[in-house]
Symmetry: C2
Subunit: 341 residues, 2 copies
Amino acid sequence: MNLKQLSQLLGLSQTTVSRALNGYPEVNEATRERVLQAVKETGYRPNKAAQRLATGKAGSIGLVMPTAPGHQSDVHFGEFLAGLGEEAVRHDFHFVIMPADPDDEVAALRRLAISGNVDALFVAYMRGHDPRLAMLKSLSMPYVVHGRSFGSEPDYPYLDIDNEGAFYDATRLLLQLGHTRFALMNGPMHLDFAIRRKNGVISALAERGLTLEEGCMSHALMTDEQGLLAMEHFLQLPERPTAILCSSTVLALGAIRAVNQAGLRLGEDISLIAHDDVLPLLKPESFSVPLTTTRSSLRAAGVRIAQRLIGTVKQAGPFPDQELWKTELIVRASTGPAPRP
Amino acid sequence: MNLKQLSQLLGLSQTTVSRALNGYPEVNEATRERVLQAVKETGYRPNKAAQRLATGKAGSIGLVMPTAPGHQSDVHFGEFLAGLGEEAVRHDFHFVIMPADPDDEVAALRRLAISGNVDALFVAYMRGHDPRLAMLKSLSMPYVVHGRSFGSEPDYPYLDIDNEGAFYDATRLLLQLGHTRFALMNGPMHLDFAIRRKNGVISALAERGLTLEEGCMSHALMTDEQGLLAMEHFLQLPERPTAILCSSTVLALGAIRAVNQAGLRLGEDISLIAHDDVLPLLKPESFSVPLTTTRSSLRAAGVRIAQRLIGTVKQAGPFPDQELWKTELIVRASTGPAPRP
DNA sequence: TACATAATTGAAAGCGCTTTGGATGTCGCT
DNA sequence: AGCGACATCCAAAGCGCTTTCAATTATGTA
C-alpha cells in the first residue's frame, strides 16, 4: 500500500492525503478524518526512504558503534543507548547504527553522515585532540558530543560531566581522611575523561604538596580483569597506596577482588572511591562493602542528548550548546580514615 | 556532491557512472578507473535513501530495542548487538534500531518493516506463543529469530541454544552429586528460554522421581537484585534447597551475595550452576568461587545471525533455516557433593 | 567492402513521497 | 451582479539513484 493507492482508494489526490497526514491546515477536517480512518483500516505507512528523499529529514539519529572481533562490548555503551532510546521512542525517531572498527571511526562517521540516512549525529568516546571534531564541523549536520575533547577549542555542542571536579572532590575527601598515598585506576589514557580525571586528582594533591607517582597510575580498558591486575600491582608497591580512585565501578569490581584476595579490608586498610555511571548491573550500594562514589547517570545523559538532537532536528526551540553536569559525591563504607602506619 | 554533478564533472552520463560504481561489466575499464578516481577526489557517496528507493535494498537490518523510562537496560542486549555488529561491519551493513515500549513490540516491528527502511529483521526476547511470528510470516521480508517460541509450530527461521538440554544436563550433574533438594532461579516466565530451561530441570528430576516445588522456583528479571531476593527466599525455606540452577550469571551474582550473607559456603553448603552467556563483564571463572556453568556465547550467536541475515539479503547461498546450538557444561568450584544432613 | 556482432554509452522512466503554484468553488459585501 | 478573500483541492515537478531500452561506435567475418 502506497500513497498513490491510498489516494485512489479515497478518490483524493496524493497531495491532499499527504497534507492530511502531515497535519497541514489547508485540508478540510472531514476529509482529514476520512484519510485517518483509511490509514487505520489499510495499515498504510509512508515509506521512510521516500520521505527522506523528498524532505531531507527522516527522523533518525546516527551513531557509530565501535566493534571488532576482539573488541569487548561495553556495558556503558548499552546503558547510554537505553537513554537515547527512551527519548527517541517518544518522538518516533530511530537510530542508524554503523558498526565500525575503532581505528576507522572518523571515516565511518563521515560515511554515515554523507549517506543521507541520518538527520543528526551523536558521538562518544571522545579523545584528546579528537580528529572527529574537525570533520563534524565541516558537515553542516547537527550533532552533539558526549564528553569533550581535551586540547580542542570547546566551540562544539557537547554534554559532559565535570570529570575533573568529581575526582578533585573525591581526592579532597580522601585527603581530609588523612590519606597521603594515592593511586588512580583510570580508563584508557587517550580518552578525554581519563585525562580530566587525572588532572582533578593531581590538582587536589598538589594543594597539599603531594604528587601522583607514575607507578600509582594505571590506564586500561574498564573491565573487572584490568581492575584486578591494576590493584594487584598497586598492592605490591613498596609504599602501598591506601587511597584508590577508580574510574568505573566495573574496574572497582576487580580491584576489590584483589583487595580481598590480599586479605585486606576495604574501608579500613584501603579506601576506594569509584565513579558510578549508574549501571543497573552494578549498584555501588550492593557491593559487600558499599562503595563511596562520584555519581552521574549515563542513561540520563543519553536522554538529554537525544532531547537536544531531536529538538534541533525538529527545530523545536534553542538548546544550550554546552552543558556540564556536576557529579554527586556519595559517601558509603568503602572510605575511611587512613590507617595508622 | 550527487550523481548528476559527478557525471557532469566527468562528462559522462549518470547511467555510466552508476554502472561503473556498481561493478557492472558493460563499462570500459579505463572509464571505470576514471570514475573511481573522481570518487576518491570528490569524496562522493551515493545517497542511501535514494538507493533504497530505487533498488528496494539499502544494506540494513532492523531490530526493535525494548525500552521505557523504568526499563532496565539489558547487558545481554548489548553483548548480542556487539556480535551482530562484528559481522555487519564486514559487509558494510548497518542497523536501524527502533526503540519501543515492551508492550508495543509487535506494532513496532510492523512499523519498522513497512517503513521500507530495512532489508531484514532480527527478533529476540522470544516468548511462548509469540504473536510476532504470525506477523513476521505475513511480511515477505527475511528475518531470523533468536530463540524459539514454545507452543508455536517451529516452521520459522531461528537460531537457538538447547536450553532444555543444558538445564537437563546441569540438573543431572547435581543429581549425581547426591543433591535432592533443588531450586530454579529463572528469567521471566513468559520468555521461551525460561520455559524450556524449567522443562529441562523438571524432566531430569522426574527421572529420579523428584519434583520441583512451586516455592523453589523464581521467575524474575535477570538482575543481581532479583537474584539476591530469590536466594534469600530459598534460604528461608524449611526444607532448604542445596542445589540451585540459575538462568544467568547476573542472577548468580546476587544469589551468591545472599549465600555469603547467610554465612553459607558456595560449593559446599550450596551448589550452584548458572547459565553463562559469556558476558565480558561477568566471567564465571573470576567469581570468588569460580562458577560451574552451562555456556554458550551470546556474541557468537549474534555473529551467526548477522551472517544468515546478510547472506539472505545478498542472496549468497542458502542457509540452514533452523539451528540449535548445544551448550557446554563446564564444571568449576561452585558445585560439590550434597552436604550430609 | 559489406554486414553481423560485440562493446560502450545515454536518454528517460520510475521508486514513493513532499511541495510549489495554480485551479475551483464559496462566501460576504458593495 | 461583481469582486476580493477564503477554504479546499489537485497536477506536476523534483529528491538522487537504478535500470530498461535504444543508440552509437568498434571489431570481426564473409
